[in-house]
């Protein structure tokens, strides 16, 4: 049953969660701060991918954790069935052949699927120095599935060529990947307007689906690189009522996944609000303990 009302980030989460499968030997790791992706992992784990393996920080085999700025880490350890150093996890999951799904959110993505997390403008004299890619350069290369998600779909984000390729999945074609011993899997882009995918190195990104109410023209106009548009473009599936309920009540009651959709000015205020609720919850616990 489709939800009567949902927000766009909930649709994106549900679409990304489709990529979560319960393939036994693969794992999904919570790495650098990407709350929308985390919500998708948890949603998959609570619905169609109950046997999926999750990890975060040094905790491996964790349960689905409620997202919060101050609680996700603690919940990960409380539910973990094992722990391992970043290096051990790096070898086995990130650099091995056992990574299932990696979501990245970069400043730019290019026609070739390259992502820029380093610098806008000249690398050596940047207009904006970005945070850097953490493990994304290796991870987009070695995981089974790569999803780049963006909270805006425009020609400044989806560009012909990125200013700097912090990471690039190469090759992309399944046959070429398998020949090199790499896991096959397309590059997926999920935005507030549409889902794009690239299956072959020599072919452009294809428009996989447009979200309800979005017309194809809008997507093409706002994409800075050539887009293959099939004759019949499907509409992205909407989240179910149950998915939306799980997201709002269980997975992300503090709405951390909405965060990236705010403008810079809105953010700090939203954050203060959200943190006030986390604080109240903790303070209530302290008061309860004092009362006992």
């Amino acid at each position: 049953m489709t939800a009567d009302r949902y927000e766009i980030h909930e649709l994106m989460i549900a679409r990304i969660a489709e990529e979560m499968t319960a393939e036994g030997e693969h794992i999904v790791l919570m790495g650098s701060f990407t709350p929308l992706a985390y919500a998708a992992y948890m949603l998959g784990k609570l619905t169609h991918a109950r046997d999926a393996w999750l990890a975060g920080y040094n905790a491996v085999g964790i349960g689905p954790v409620q997202l919060s700025f101050t609680g996700s880490e603690a919940a990960a350890y409380r539910s973990a069935t094992s722990t391992a150093s970043f290096n051990q996890n790096g070898w086995i999951f990130h650099l091995g052949t056992r990574g299932l799904l990696e979501c990245v959110s970069s400043a730019q993505i290019g026609a070739d699927g390259a992502i820029n997390l380093s610098a806008i403008g000249d690398y050596d004299a940047p207009k904006v120095r970005l945070p850097g890619g953490a493990g994304a350069p290796e991870v987009v290369q070695n995981y089974r599935r790569m999803v780049a998600y963006f909270t805006r779909h425009d020609r400044r984000t989806l560009v012909e060529a990125v200013d700097f390729a912090t990471g690039r999945r190469t090759p992309i074609g399944a046959a070429a990947r398998e020949e090199l011993g790499l896991c096959p899997g397309a590059v997926l882009i999920v935005t507030p307007l549409a889902v794009l995918r690239k299956d072959e190195d020599e072919q452009p990104f294809e428009l996989e689906s447009v979200h309800p109410g979005v017309d194809v023209e809008t997507v093409v106009e706002n994409t800075g690189f050539e887009l293959a548009v099939p004759d019949d473009v499907p509409v992205t599936g909407e989240p179910s009522a149950r998915q939306v309920e799980l997201l709002r009540e269980r997975i992300d009651p503090f709405q951390t996944a909405r965060f990236d959709f705010l403008t810079g000015e809105e953010r700090l205020g939203y954050l203060e609000d959200l943190l006030a609720r986390e604080w109240d919850r903790a303070e209530a616990l302290v008061e309860q303990a004092a009362a006992r």
């Binding site: 609570l46 919060s68 996700s72 390259a114 940047p126 904006v128 965060f259």
Partner: protein, 295 residues
């Protein structure tokens, strides 16, 4: 605690433990700032306020990193400014490659092979770090990274004993590998305990004492970062920090002056007095694992 900076020779390359907002050695970082250091080459795997504070206090002459960010709070303001202005020379290395390079240092081998970031522009940019190997076994063009051996590892842990054994109950990132790779290992910890307490749960010991040169008791030594399961990140003080960094100028200078004008005990009183510390502890308890059966 005040003796810590003296253990780090002039011009040292110092690798910082922890990752994201988890368990950075913040008490040690503050102590370096109090000592007025301006000579350090920091290596940060997944840096946040640790790096931004060192940069803001002009403690670094070079930074090697894979990421520096204040995540939800925004870009790392001082880091961004200092790189954009050209004031801070950087070496950007992808995280897994940096991890493996430090592991090579730990193993006392000159390089290690890995399934590397072949599509990244960082590879061509650093041919002295990202290389390829061929072997008498028939391998050709295998991606490798050059070993990194820091002078000093600066780590924070849950507990240590006098022999230098180091236990983390929560996030230990790649602290064990940093200890193995570095010539000198300095560990601050929430508490120093008798060796019997360490032996009682030996599987929690992440670093054996023979690798450790100094242990220093520093309660809340990761604050405002988290030290799970003892305390959560202090998102409120992180927000205050970011506001001061964004304001810059006098506001940020005042922040630095307060740190320089106090010791760690005064810092804890200022930051965690009036029961704030207990709320940070309660946040760990308040964290929710979703009941899969009920959901």
């Amino acid at each position: 605690m005040e003796d810590l900076p003296g253990l780090i020779p002039e011009g040292s390359t110092v690798v910082l433990g922890g990752g994201w907002f988890a368990n950075h050695p913040m008490a040690a970082v503050r102590e370096l700032i109090r000592a007025g250091r301006d000579d350090l080459h920091a290596i940060a795997l997944l840096g946040s306020i640790d790096v931004d504070l060192l940069v803001g206090a002009r403690a670094l002459r070079h930074l090697t990193f894979s990421m520096v960010t204040l995540e939800a709070f925004g870009l790392a303001t001082n880091f961004r400014r200092a790189v954009q202005s050209g004031e801070l020379p950087i070496t950007e290395i992808s995280a897994l490659s940096l991890q493996v390079a430090l592991e090579a240092g730990a193993h006392r081998v000159p390089f290690l092979p890995l399934r590397g970031p072949v599509g990244s522009d960082l590879v061509a940019m650093h041919p002295d770090f990202y290389g390829t190997a061929s072997t008498s076994l028939g391998d050709a063009d295998v991606p490798v990274v050059k070993a990194v051996r820091p002078d000093v590892a600066l780590l924070h842990a849950t507990r240590c004993d006098a022999l230098g054994n180091v236990q983390h109950e929560g996030t230990y990132a790649m602290d064990p590998e940093l200890a193995r790779a570095s010539d000198r290992v300095i560990v601050t910890c929430e508490e120093i305990v008798p060796t019997e307490a360490v032996a009682a749960d030996a599987s929690l010991t992440r670093i054996p004492g023979l690798l450790v040169d100094a242990v220093i008791e520093a309660p809340f030594g990761a604050h405002p970062c988290s030290h799970v399961p003892r305390y959560a990140q202090d998102a409120w003080k992180l927000l205050d920090y970011q506001k001061a960094a964004l304001a810059g100028g006098d506001a940020y200078d005042a922040l630095l002056d307060r740190i320089r004008g106090e010791d760690e005990e005064s810092y804890r009183e200022r930051m965690l007095g009036d029961g704030r510390g207990r709320v940070l502890e309660a946040l760990v308890e308040a964290a929710v694992v979703i009941d899969e059966e009920a959901a």
